[in-house]
């Protein structure tokens, strides 16, 4: 870690932040978020189409593949605002799948898939397995070559939006080494998806059983790039989860502060009591730190070494910040905080999901210790 951490903010980030702030606020009011909890799909497809039209899916894809040619740094303000309004949908999973394809795909695959992904075709990652190891190279699902086809077997967990994604990027062990294959959902037989009961009810997460699924050999991504693709996806996912958590922390704190400003007990507004005021200030200060790390990570993302350090720090800090803010949000809402009707639970559930995907705070610090000490 360099002694002087740097941060910068591009013109494009500023514009996207502004547009996304308004868009997400308008499209994802809390009533909408709650109504989608009951919805099988879990998101509003019309809003997805609008996002595609705004070009958000194309942000971090080079122009030669139908993208806008910016970087993942420019996706950050968009995801931050989605997190702020708890907007659900396959935006992040599709973005990550595109990034995996971009780094790990063959030229042919990139030409074939990326323009569609930029235009609104949905995709997702199938990387996690029941063993629960956050190390993405720990792969027990297998692929076996049978002439011109690959025969898959094994089970993937936490595959977001697998029900509506058109493409799945699946990690497998092929001839003893990790590999990535692109699987079109249409080839999956009936009954391969099982919806998981997950703590964050705004999300749709699936287990996918690939036993016996066959794909053409051309579905294999460039094996020489698998490691690079997995590293890239790991860090991209961590960065975007940090963005989501920072956004959620901001609105969780705002939500709680509103309550502290209005609710009266013992003749006084409860926000005047230091037992509540000081911890919410600590939550706010923690959020401010997390946001600085988020934009530092975005700015340094493409820097060898420094990008990984900054991203792992961002994930660790965003995780701590949102956990604390949401935990206190429940407590400070008192009896109401214990109800399903109180939004505090939505934030807390979301934080538990986000923190546990791609490595929690303690895991990130352990990885940082390997890098820095």
């Amino acid at each position: 870690m360099s002694k002087k951490a740097t941060i910068g903010f591009s013109e494009e980030q500023a514009q996207l932040l502004e547009v996304a702030t308004t868009f997400c606020r308008d499209k994802s009011p809390i009533e909408k978020v709650r109504s989608l909890l009951e919805n099988e799909r879990g998101y509003d497809d019309a809003i997805w189409t609008e996002m595609a039209e705004l070009g958000w899916l194309a942000i971090a894809v080079p122009e030669e593949f139908g993208g806008i040619g910016l970087g993942v740094a420019e996706v950050v303000p968009v995801v931050e605002q989605m997190g702020r309004t708890m907007m659900a949908g396959p935006f992040v999973s599709t973005t990550l799948a595109a990034q995996a394809m971009l780094v790990g795909g063959t030229d042919e695959q990139k030409q074939k898939y990326l323009p569609d992904l930029c235009a609104g075709t949905k995709a997702t990652l199938a990387l996690s397995e029941p063993h629960g190891d956050w190390d993405l190279t720990h792969v027990e699902c297998t692929a076996e070559r049978l002439g011109d086809t690959l025969k898959l077997s094994g089970r993937k967990t936490f595959v977001e939006n697998a029900d509506t994604a058109d493409l799945l990027l699946v990690s497998v062990s092929l001839e003893g080494a990790p590999a990535l294959v692109v699987v079109e959902r249409s080839v999956l037989p009936e009954g391969t998806l099982r919806r998981e009961v997950v703590i964050d009810e705004t999300r749709r997460s699936y287990q996918v059983t690939f036993d016996g699924v066959e794909v053409p050999a051309s579905a294999l991504l460039d094996p020489s790039k698998t490691t690079a693709a997995l590293v890239h996806v790991d860090l991209c996912a961590s960065l975007l989860l940090s963005a989501e958590m920072c956004g959620a922390a901001a609105s969780c704190i705002d939500y709680t502060v509103d309550y502290l400003q209005t609710r009266k007990q013992f003749g006084k507004k409860i926000g005047s009591y230091q037992a509540l005021k000081h911890p919410i200030v600590d939550a706010h200060v923690g959020y401010e730190q997390a946001r600085s790390h988020l934009y530092c990570a975005a700015f340094n993302f493409t820097q060898q070494g420094e990008g990984e350090v900054a991203t792992r720090i961002a994930k660790a800090q965003a995780g701590e910040a949102l956990s604390y803010a949401a935990d206190r949000a429940i407590q400070f809402h008192g009896g109401f905080g214990f109800t399903y009707d109180c939004d505090a639970q939505l934030y807390r559930r979301r934080s538990l999901w986000c923190e546990n995907q791609f490595g929690d705070s303690a895991y990130q610090r352990a990885k940082l210790a390997e890098l820095l000490l």
């Binding site: 870690m1 002694k3 002087k4 951490a5 740097t6 941060i7 910068g8 903010f9 980030q13 500023a14 932040l17 502004e18 901001a250 704190i253 502060v257 502290l260 400003q261 006084k268 507004k269 926000g271 005047s272 009591y273 230091q274 005021k277 000081h278 919410i280 200030v281 600590d282 706010h284 200060v285 401010e288 730190q289 946001r291 600085s292 790390h293 934009y295 530092c296 720090i313 660790a316 800090q317 303690a362 610090r365 352990a366 940082l368 210790a369 820095l372 000490l373």
Partner: protein
């Protein structure tokens, strides 16, 4: 409209670097204070006074203050460079911190021409040491409740009362003093006035306060029928609160330009890494303890938070939600961080964490233990962390007053 060339700046930088490399002596053979609040012996005082004088004579202090009052008359950019080079050379702190960072900028900005001529040069050269008379024994963070009285008598003012935590009060020639001139004013703030008071007059006595470290550095100041001249009043009678609040802003160099130097030498988390490499806990290297590793990384992250917050503060779209937030939070964050960092440094040392300054087997001469105990001066002084949380809660988050 700056017309300074890059070459001028880089030449200035190399001159400053060379000067500090040649003249800095951070190890005079006795322990130097980490902050201006820890100057506890004449030996330390004399060394630091001479050091400040030398830096001033070389032009690296007050470089951006007006020439006619003793400054260098240069652009602030030059002073910033000089201060950076001083830090790189790991130079000692500047002794006359209250003069340089509070009184000096205040006098430059709000004082009369006569006041500027009388005081500024002595502040820069460390000829005239300044202290601050804000806190009182019964009113620590509650400055507005100050009870020390100043009563007009002919041309003079007569002072009665007591101030506390007077840093370098025993060495000071002048005090910036907040005193009550009208006990019957419509509210407590309206009755206060601000003085540039001489200290070496009959009826002003300072008594050293021994700190939890065992050292000295602060005094309590007693005023008993002390008579100071009428022109000690700064600004208008009854407007002392406004002047005092402006004064606190200068600490951050908001107005009047920064004179340079630094008043604190913060412990560096990278030095903690060095300590973690050599220290042992339970007979094993501290760095083999996974809990220690986790905590160390967390502290390194927080050290970066402080740097990044200050940088993000300049990026308008990223602070527009709550514009005052980062500025108002920085004192709380930085001081609490330093306290925890120093505490952690002791934890790292295992059994030897129980040693203290003076014990030859103590790691780094007991620096961390001393720094930890001293770190409370910053989490209490200038408004406790609890007061800072109230300020952030009320001014940034809009919560009702406590």
């Amino acid at each position: 409209m700056s017309t300074i060339s890059e070459k001028e700046l880089s030449d200035y930088r190399s001159d400053a670097a060379a000067w500090f490399a040649e003249n800095t002596n951070a190890d005079p053979g006795f322990m130097l204070p980490l902050t201006f609040m820890e100057v506890g012996t004449d030996q330390q005082f004399n060394f630091l006074r001479e050091w400040q004088h030398k830096v001033y004579e070389a032009g690296y202090l007050g470089a951006a203050w007006p020439k006619e009052y003793g400054g260098g008359g240069l652009d602030q950019k030059f002073q910033t460079i000089a201060t950076e080079e001083m830090a790189k050379a790991n130079g000692p702190i500047m002794l006359n911190a209250i003069g340089l960072n509070w009184a000096g900028p205040l006098i430059l900005d709000m004082g009369t021409d006569e006041e500027r001529k009388r005081y500024i040069k002595g502040i820069l050269s460390a000829e005239d040491i300044w202290c601050q008379g804000f806190s009182e024994p019964e009113n620590g963070s509650d400055l507005g409740n100050a009870q020390t009285k100043a009563v007009r008598d002919g041309d003079d003012w007569v002072l009665n009362g007591s101030k506390i935590w007077t840093t370098q009060g025993n060495y000071a020639k002048y005090m910036i003093l907040l005193a009550r001139t009208n006990p019957d004013a419509p509210n407590k703030y309206a009755g206060l006035s601000f003085f540039l008071s001489p200290m070496q007059v009959d009826g002003i006595e300072t008594v050293p306060i021994r700190k939890l470290t065992g050292e000295y550095g602060f005094t309590q100041t007693f005023f008993t029928e002390a008579r100071i001249p009428g022109d000690s009043l700064m600004g208008k009678e009854g407007e002392g609160w406004l002047v005092a609040m402006r004064t606190l802003e200068y600490e951050r160099g908001v107005k009047g330009g920064q004179p340079g130097g630094y008043v604190m030498r913060a412990s560096d988390p990278f030095e903690i890494v060095e300590l973690a490499r050599k220290a042992t806990r339970g007979g094993k290297p501290a760095l083999e303890d996974p809990v220690i590793k986790d905590q160390l990384i967390q502290l390194m992250i927080e050290a970066r938070s402080l740097q990044l917050n200050s940088k993000r503060g300049h990026i308008q779209p990223l602070v527009q939600d709550k514009p005052a937030s980062l500025a108002l939070s920085s004192k709380l964050m930085a001081t609490e961080f330093m306290r925890r960092l120093n505490e952690f440094a002791i934890t790292l040392q295992g059994q030897r964490g129980a040693y203290y300054v003076g014990e030859p087997d103590a790691y780094d001469e007991g620096l961390w233990q001393r720094a930890y105990l001293n770190s409370f001066s910053a989490t209490i002084g200038g408004g406790t962390s609890q007061i800072q949380r109230n300020i952030i809660g009320e001014h940034v988050l809009g919560l009702p007053k406590s």
